[in-house]
Structure formats: C-alpha cells, structure tokens
Symmetry: C2
Subunit: 354 residues, 2 copies
C-alpha cells in the first residue's frame, strides 16, 4: 500500500469521548493525518475540540484534503448504525479512490452499496473488527523471559489503551524491549497489529489473546491493552477472556475520577476502587500470582488542585503509585512496572536455584 | 414441522463423554428417538455404551431406521472438523429427505456440498449454534417475583446442564412455576429455546443472556444452565458473560469427584472447591448478593462407598447440602434452592416494609 494519508471523519461529534478513535489516531499516527472532517467546525484548529492535533484543520468536505488517500471513521455512531449523512461522505470518498477504514461493529463490507462502489473504484474497505478467529486457548507456556503487564479498568473508556501505549514508550525509552499489544479497534489502527477481542466469538477470546501473546513473545515485556471492565454488566466477558488469555504478571488499574456509574448502564454503580482492585486480583491470580502494581488516574474532569488531592488519597488508600499520565507523565507507572518485573525475575532465578 | 423422529449419529464415539449431546437428548427427549447410529456397535442396546436409552438399538445405517425423519449429530468430532465418514452419512440422510440437526461450531450451512444437497432435497440444515445476536446487556431490571438460580462448575462437562434440568423438574414437581434456560447447544436441542452463548460474539454474551431472562421472566424461577468455568483458561469469558447477564440470586456449584486438571488443558490444575466457590461468589456478588446454596457432585468415577465419604467431606468443608443427582436424587439441591428463594422473598418483603 502507498503511504497512508488519512482524512478522519468526526462529523458532528468532535468531542474527545465520542471521537476517541480519532483522538488516539491523531495522537499516535500524527504524521499520516492530513485533516479532520467536521463541517460544523470548519476552519477550527483540530485541537480546539479534540484536545490533540494542533496544526491540523477541521475541513467541511473531502475537496479540502485532496491529497488524502484514505478515509478513517473516527467516531462510533450513536445508536450503532451509520447515519445517512456519513453514508454520503463514505460513498464520495470511495468514488475518489480512497480506501475506507472503520472500527464499527457494523461492517462496511456487509453493506451492498459500499461493496458495489468499492469494487467499481478498486478500493479497499478495511473493517478492523472483522475476523474469523476460532483459536482455543491452550496455555502452551510463553517464553520464559517474557513479562506481561495488562491495563485494566473500573469501566469502559477510562484510558486503558493510552496508558498501555505510554507504558510501552516509557519502557522503550529506558532501553527495554517492550511491545504494545492491541486488543481493540483503535489500538489495532495505531499498531497495525492485534485482534478485535470484543468482536471475537466468546469461546475464542482467550485463544485470540493467547495467539497475540505467542506472536509477540520475542519481546521482553508485553503491554496488553484491556477492554471493558470485570465490573461492567455488559462487557465483562471480553475483559475476562483477555485477562485469562494473556496471563499477566502485573496489572495497572485505570480509573476516571468522579465516575461512579457504569457507562451505558448508568443506574448501575461502579464499586469502590479497592473492591475493583480485589476483584481483578482474584481473577488474575487463579493460575499464577498477579497483583495491581500501579494506578492510572484519569482526572480530566477535575482541576489541578482536586487532582492532586485525589492522587494522594488513592496513593494512601491502595499504597500504590498513582499518576495521571497526561497531567503528571507516566514515570511512576513505568517505574512500578519495572520494579514488578525485577521482583519477578528475582523470584524466577530463586526458583531455578540460582 | 412434522413430529420429529430422530436418528442420532454417534459413529465410533459412543461413550457418555464424547457423545454427551446424544446422551442428553436420549435422556430428555426419549420419545422422539428412533435409533442410534454406530456401526461399530450394531445390535447392542444403546444403554450398554451410553448409560441411557434402554430399549433403543444401535444400528449400522439409515436403512435400519426407515421411519426417522431427522438426523441429529450427537457427538463433537475430535479435532473439530466433520470426518469424511460422517459426511457420507449426512449426505445419505439428506438424500432421503431428512433434516439435519447439528450443534457443532463448524456449520453445516457453511458447507457448499451440504447446502447444495439440502436445496435439492428440500430439507433443513439446523445449526443450533448459528446466531447473529448483537444485543448489549442493559440491566433493565427483571420482574420482581422472578428468582434466578444458576448452575456453575469447576470445569467443563461436569453436569451443569443436567443439574439445571433436574432442579427445574424438582421445582415443578413441588408446584413451582420453574423454567429451564438453555445456554448451550444440547440444552437448546432439549428445550427448543435458548441461545448458544459460546458462539455469540463476546460483546453480546451478557446481552443474549439478559434477553433470554427477559423472554422467560413470566416464570417464578428461572434455572439458568452455566457454561465452562470461571477457572477454565479457555472458556471463562463465556462463563462470566452468562453469570453477569442472568444476575442470579443463587448458585449451584457442580464438580466432578477426582477431577483436578482442566479439561483440554490438562497441565493446568483446577483450584480446590472452596477457592472455586469463593471466586464464583466474588464475581456473582458485584451488583447484588449471591451465594452458592448447594453442591452438585458428579461421582461417576468412584464407587458407592467412596461417593458417600466424599459427599460427607464436602458437606463438612462447605457447610452446604451436597448430592449426586444420579446416585441420590436431586431433593437436597431442590430444597436448598427453595429455601434460598424463601430467604430472598422474606428479604424483599422486609425491604418493601411489609
């Protein structure tokens, strides 16, 4: 494929929550992004609405980004179906010879109109979630030197993917051969690898995760992105399948300050952080010891002073390093992961009789 | 559909473990079964090899069961693919105008040769696991008087489905409006209802289970079949998705005596029963209180004396009623479920200020 030049569609929904795919692709693959398409914000700097992408401009149509060769759908449509207004844009992009990348549950390649247009224009419809994985987890044993850390959360959309990427970068900066393992559509778009675990048949989620570990185990540290939450009434199956498939040595617990109701099921309360931590440790430790070694706080909804108080409160409560990677950087978490790895290495040496 | 007259295929694998679908269909839909096809055991009474089905004969070909109008595949093929020898039998059945029922992960209706033959003979290929469920769990609240009990296990294939059916029957015999809720292919074949949770996309397992509850909540007690195990490295995602989707008030823990290694992953040990019980109670109690109220022991591998000793040991250890439903009947478990329901009703009255 020619070098990707992306225009990202966020039409009418350019906020960091609904357009989280757009935000993360801009954050981590900035060089490939030409423009963001939201006709309601035309002319604005992208960072004004999305908080990332300074220097990129909001455009009102594909005409304004003539060198783009690929349209990436950067939002999840409210209701799950692609709205009519977006269909027009997607068809226009296809007619200009652009590939389309989508992470939606509804596949472009299951849509007759898109498929016909794609064939006529010789472009590719890339449905990142599409898969036919039928791998059963077998616990074959991973390479001995391969340490696995897994980001987990008290809810959806609290930053598990970003934290995993930042831990990976922090480890790499310290000379450690670390690899980010993507388990969701946005992570896959960023890493060009991984599997869309929430779209895998339930019998095979742990198997798909295990396969991803086996494909990546030449690296010394795997940082595995978590999905959903063990305490989420809708998605805990995905969460546990990944947890048991990657068999982590350490967990990083991600949470958002002030969030106490489950996303999408707001009448259900999220348990307190110590309870969430205990639940993850029970489920992660069935077949090998595994603990939460650090907490990633997402404090976007509070000011600096409140964030500092909350950070101290949770440090005290859980007796663990706590940081907000955007506000304070990732050092505390990266160092906690390194320390956990050293303890694990020491314990492995001891068991080997060294 | 005309009344079903089944011939069940177990060719070369007529043991209660590999042919567990056959055994359960014979046990619970005996009236519809005409014969069992295993040419290696021709002429034998079916009960000799399968332990159920006295009076049914093993036959060597479809000729020997001329009045059958449906072939049911009663075994899971070792390796997952339908062996060539079975293909011939399936095609022969189709050519005779018989419908085919299969619970395999590999769909008959994805096989061009079967599809062509089915069309030519106007028969139906019924893939019990096939589904396109995309329901997200929303915890809408179930009917207030609807008590839900869920059978869970320390491993696969320990009797969760049979125990759920026997609890349902026991409750019905005591005048309670109970309903068995099937979550796997065999249960669906028996009940003609339910969803194949292990074949549902992982994001939707809890949603499919919740839908099944909503469809069934006019009954006073729902007895929900469990799948896999929370401590199974391959299938725990399915287990948790069902557990969180049905939001049970009580659990019945099923285990097999002498089984200490995970099925399919034999180098992994199954935790002790008290630990398994604790793990289930943690995961079941996140949003409402839920405890294990009885233990269903599967003692097929030990003699009467050993079974009695084991039963007493576990009673003492967990301070719960314990029974093997085949050896001792289901009364102890059914009564424990009724007692749990009465406690729940009393507690609900108290909260309502009655």
């Amino acid at each position: 494929m020619a070098q990707r030049k992306l225009i990202i569609l966020t039409e009418g929904h350019s906020d960091p929550h609904t357009a989280k795919t757009a935000c993360s692709v801009i954050r981590y693959r900035r060089d490939e992004v030409v423009a963001v398409l939201d006709s309601t914000l035309v002319g604005q700097d992208v960072s004004e609405s999305l908080g990332v992408g300074q220097g990129l401009t909001m455009v009102s149509s594909l005409d304004a980004a003539a060198d783009a060769n690929c349209l990436l759908i950067g939002i999840a449509p409210p209701g799950g179906k692609i709205p009519a207004a977006w269909r027009v844009i997607v068809l226009d992009a296809i007619s200009r010879g652009m590939d389309i990348i989508s992470g939606l549950h509804d596949f472009l390649s299951d849509d007759d109109e898109f498929v016909t247009a794609a064939a006529a224009n010789s472009i590719e419809l890339i449905d990142v979630r599409k898969n036919d994985i039928t791998t059963i987890a077998r616990r074959p044993g991973f390479r001995e030197g391969c340490f696995r850390v897994h980001t987990v959360g008290h809810d959806c959309s609290v930053g598990k993917m970003v934290v995993a990427i930042e831990i990976t970068k922090g480890l790499q900066q310290r000379g450690i051969d670390a690899k980010f393992c993507a388990t969701g559509q946005t992570g896959i778009m960023i890493e060009d690898a991984g599997y869309p675990m929430d779209r895998v048949i339930s019998d095979f989620v742990s198997g798909a995760t295990e396969r991803l570990m086996l494909e990546s185990e030449s690296h010394d540290v795997l940082v595995v992105e978590g999905q959903g939450s063990l305490v989420h009434p809708s998605y805990s199956a995905v969460t546990l399948g990944i947890l048991h498939g990657c068999l982590p040595h350490a967990l990083v617990l991600c949470y958002e300050v002030l969030r106490d109701a489950v996303t999408g099921v707001e009448h259900v309360k999220i348990p307190d952080l110590p309870e969430v931590k205990a639940i993850y440790e029970v489920m992660a430790s069935i077949h090998q010891p595994c603990e939460v070694v650090a907490v990633a706080m997402n404090s976007r909804r509070v000011d600096d002073a409140s964030a500092a108080v909350e950070r101290e409160r949770v440090r005290e409560q859980l007796q663990l390093p706590v940081t907000d990677i955007f506000r304070y950087g990732s050092d505390d978490i990266v160092e906690a992961v390194m320390a956990a790895r050293e303890r694990w290495q020491a314990s492995a040496s001891e068991q080997a009789g060294d």
